[in-house]
Symmetry: C2
Subunit: 88 residues, 2 copies
């Protein structure tokens, strides 16, 4: 019997790498009057709904997917959160 898991993956460029999208957003926000920003970084947010036998299995699958497709480990880093159940 497989259970349903909601996984959320947050991918961002590694610290220290230039992030032109983040810089552009920062400039736009400053133009709008927000002067107290020290940094803006832009990344990807991926929600994956998957079936697995248990949380450990779901976590393992998710890490594989990140390594194979979702994340470019040379320039990106990621974190994730998994919980059992239907989408909120």
């Amino acid at each position: 019997m497989q259970k349903l898991f909601q996984a959320k993956v947050y991918v961002s460029l590694k610290k220290g790498l230039a992030d032109p999208q983040g810089s552009t957003i920062k400039e736009a926000l400053e133009f709008l009057g927000y002067r107290n920003l020290s940094e803006v970084r832009f990344g990807k947010y991926i929600e994956v709904e998957l079936r697995a036998k248990g949380k450990k299995g779901a976590e393992q699958k998710l890490k594989e997917m990140c390594g194979k497709l979702l994340v470019n480990p040379i320039i990106e880093e990621y974190s994730y959160h998994i919980e059992e159940g239907q989408a909120g």
Copy 2:
């Protein structure tokens, strides 16, 4: 005296709206052998480092930024997380 806050904003398309990027990622993952996916949604992840007098003020500023620039309320929804302190 202003304090430093780390804010993370997660933006995704509203449920029910077609998400071509998410669908493409889902197909690619299925092609790689991951057959137990029910859904993949693709969104944006924005880290904002800002200064404010307190957490309430930081939160209010962040919500304004989302309303004015970061999020398109017609087609997107968002959630956020703020904490005080330096980037991890």
